[in-house]
């Protein structure tokens, strides 16, 4: 087996372990390349048919291209798609025009997710984070518990040895399942190319710019690029000197912001 086959096989193993262990898992789909790759791996793990729903936390600030991509492929793949928003916060006027990125991310993503979990009673969340996105994510476990307050006890994580973990979802808690921790950004793109995974058009360069990481429209900045197809994106990444999330404003407002967001339950 080559490198990508090994990554794929190990991720599928983790996904299947999670299905065995948890009663009500859900896949968190942000419509970006990583969670779409994770969705693809889940489809492969269960031979095309997902035995759990797919959850999109909609901040209402996503790109129109993301909504249409979501709806098209949800239909094509026969997904049980659930869309949840923090309507209360939106009604109160929480918006990028009036609030800082930290507040918006927290209210529109984290709190929206908390509400969705409480409403549906999910005990496990498949999340497509990778170690090389951010040094805080590099310290994550494959199975990572969050308590009822959504806190991540990063100072005292449980041991995870070989394929064994001890995370159980007690009442009110849930487990984040992270099957992509060993994948790099380049691995993801190589795999997308090899597998022919559909991917949002926003990633491809138009008029000299493309998005390298997709988030909320007001705080996501495109990078200069001529890469308008997969081959060119892969070539570009091999020589890139900037970080993948450089275009994501919420990471940079304050020191340790990602750690704070994550410890509060941000994905």
């Amino acid at each position: 087996m080559d490198h990508l086959e090994e990554l794929e096989s190990n991720s599928i193993y983790i996904i299947r372990e999670a299905l065995w262990e948890f009663k009500k898992p859900v896949l968190l789909w942000s419509i970006g390349k990583d969670s779409t790759t994770l969705l693809w791996l889940c489809r492969k793990a269960f031979l095309g048919k997902l035995p759990f729903p797919v959850l999109h936390i909609d901040t209402s600030y996503k790109f129109p291209e993301m909504y249409s991509f979501r709806d098209n492929w949800a239909k094509e793949w026969g997904l049980d798609l659930i869309v949840e928003r923090n309507e209360e916060a939106l009604d109160k006027g929480v918006s990028y025009e009036t609030h800082d990125a930290f507040t918006c991310c927290h209210e529109l993503k984290t709190v929206a997710l908390q509400k969705a979990i409480a409403k549906h009673g999910y005990d496990a969340l498949f999340v497509g984070i990778r170690s090389d996105e951010h040094s805080v994510r590099a310290k994550e476990r494959h199975f990572s518990p969050r308590d009822s307050q959504f806190q991540w006890d990063y100072k005292n994580q449980s041991a995870e040895i070989w394929n064994h973990h001890s995370s159980t979802a007690d009442e009110g808690n849930h487990i984040r399942v992270h099957p992509l921790l060993e994948w790099t950004e380049l691995d993801i793109w190589n795999y997308i190319e090899r597998e022919g995974i559909p991917i949002n058009e926003l990633y491809f360069a138009k008029d000299g710019k493309r998005y390298r990481s997709l988030g909320c429209m007001p705080i996501t900045i495109p990078v200069e690029s001529e890469a308008d197809n997969l081959e060119k994106i892969i070539e570009e990444l091999k020589t890139s000197k900037t970080a993948e999330r450089a275009g994501r404003a919420q990471d940079k407002e304050k020191a340790f912001i990602m750690q704070k967001l994550r410890s509060l339950g941000y994905m």
């Binding site: 087996m1 490198h3 086959e5 090994e6 794929e8 096989s9 190990n10 599928i12 193993y13 299947r16 372990e17 299905l19 065995w20 489809r43 492969k44 793990a45 269960f46 031979l47 095309g48 048919k49 035995p51 170690s131 090389d132 951010h134 040094s135 805080v136 590099a138 310290k139 476990r141 990063y154 100072k155 994580q157 449980s158 041991a159 995870e160 040895i161 070989w162 394929n163 064994h164 973990h165 001890s166 159980t168 921790l181 060993e182 790099t184 890139s240 000197k241 900037t242 970080a243 993948e244 450089a246 020191a255 340790f256 750690q259």
Partner: protein, 407 residues
């Protein structure tokens, strides 16, 4: 290839990794700028450890709390580097990191010599079955790059490793902060003519391909789909073939593999390491924990001997019920006899025929399971030769089976 960086606290693990990544152009400039901005150094120069130690608590105290993964490529292959914390309190995090590794670097501060966690980490590597080990004698800049000061440190660690029956692949003198003998050979150590760290890493053989071993397919679960039952699992060794007849353990019943299914069709065969779905002639006979195999049978036993490493602050009391997890098997068990135990750093015996193993101690024990468990020598089929003991909340101990001897 996965490499874990181990060693005593402050001997320079995070710095070594940070520097290695920096020298191989593996870190985006924006990340380097962030680490520079956060650096507390007066001249604003880069704190290499900050490239990994990203938690606020880590930077405030200049320590590593939890293991992290980073990636780099040498001309030969891609590596995942796992940074293991050096504090005794974070040992479970160290073991978590090391359990994913194919090889290890054991780092020693030349100005301080072998210390408590240096030895403990070496022991952990042995207990986890990691054989490819590089000793890096670090901080040569603090001892003026003098060979005479390195030699005693090398002698001390080699003596200790010999007592553990570990032979390091190389002993490399380095100055991680300055990059000496990491990505290239240093001019400041003319007395050292061996390879630099990356050269040693690149000389390691790839992980052993288990396709040449007998077939072991471990069942994860059975998934009903379109009116038939899919057996989900991974080929841990051997090459599984459509039409093949295999023996189901523990029952011994013969099972025929009718098909190897993947999302977009069927496969004729599946090599070691591949996650697949099988259709078989008697799916009702299979459930999680079962093993399909051919060739010489693994051992099926209710009792076996092993070394275990205790990770639980509550210790491992004899006679207490734990869950033994081996591959996808989960079986209630008890530690019966702890007939020898030792301090995992000093290697001193701390008791014979004891009734409790304490945190960080290593014990020679007999494990008795409530019903039969399928096990094999770790050196032959790793997946069936390594196990953990778990209570209701945590993994409390880990071990590998060197020589199955059913009791």
């Amino acid at each position: 290839m996965n490499i874990v960086i181990t060693g005593h606290v402050d001997h320079g693990k995070s710095t070594l990794i940070g520097r290695l990544l920096f020298d191989t152009n593996s870190i985006p400039e924006t990340v380097i700028e962030e680490a520079k901005r956060s650096s507390k150094r007066a001249d604003g120069s880069l704190e290499f450890a900050y490239l990994l130690d990203s938690l606020e608590e880590e930077r405030a105290k200049n320590i590593t709390i939890d293991a992290s993964r980073t990636f780099f490529k040498s001309p030969k292959r891609r590596y995942t580097i796992i940074d293991a914390p050096g504090h005794k309190e974070f040992l479970k995090n160290m073991v978590t990191g090391a359990s994913q590794a194919d090889a290890a670097i054991l780092i020693i501060d030349a100005s301080r010599g072998v210390e408590e966690q240096t030895k403990r980490h070496a022991f952990v590597l042995k207990l986890l079955g990691i054989q490819k080990i590089i000793v890096a004698v670090n901080k040569l800049d603090l001892i003026g790059f003098e060979q005479s000061k390195v030699t005693p440190v090398v002698e001390e660690i080699e003596k200790f490793l010999t007592s553990l029956e570990i032979t390091p692949q190389a002993v490399v003198p380095i100055a991680a902060m300055e990059g000496d003998n990491l990505a290239s050979r240093s001019k400041r150590t003319p007395w050292y003519t061996g390879p630099c760290i990356i050269e040693v890493l690149d000389s390691f053989e790839e992980r052993r391909d288990l396709s040449g071993e007998p077939i072991r397919f471990v069942v994860q679960s059975v998934l009903p789909q379109n009116g038939s039952e899919m057996i989900l699992g991974r080929v841990e060794s051997g090459v599984l073939k459509t039409g093949g007849k295999l023996r189901l353990l523990p029952s011994g019943r013969e099972i025929t593999v009718n098909g190897i299914k993947v999302m977009d069709g069927s496969l004729k065969e599946a090599p070691a390491g591949k996650s697949v779905a099988l259709t078989v002639d008697a799916p009702e006979a299979l459930n999680r924990g079962a093993v399909l195999c051919d060739g010489p049978s693994p051992t099926i036993t209710k009792s076996f001997k092993s070394s275990i490493f205790c990770l639980s602050p509550n210790g491992i009391p004899a006679e207490k019920t734990f869950t033994l997890k081996c591959a996808t098997q989960a079986i209630p068990c008890k530690v019966k006899g702890i007939y020898q135990k030792m301090n995992s750093s000093s290697l001193e015996q701390t008791g014979r025929n004891s009734d409790k193993l304490d945190e960080t101690e290593v014990g020679e024990v007999i494990i008795e399971t409530e019903y039969p468990v399928i096990v094999e020598n770790f050196s032959k089929i790793p997946a069936l030769g390594r196990f953990v003991l778990q209570d209701s909340d945590h993994i409390c101990a880990a071990g590998i089976i060197r020589e199955v001897s059913a009791q």
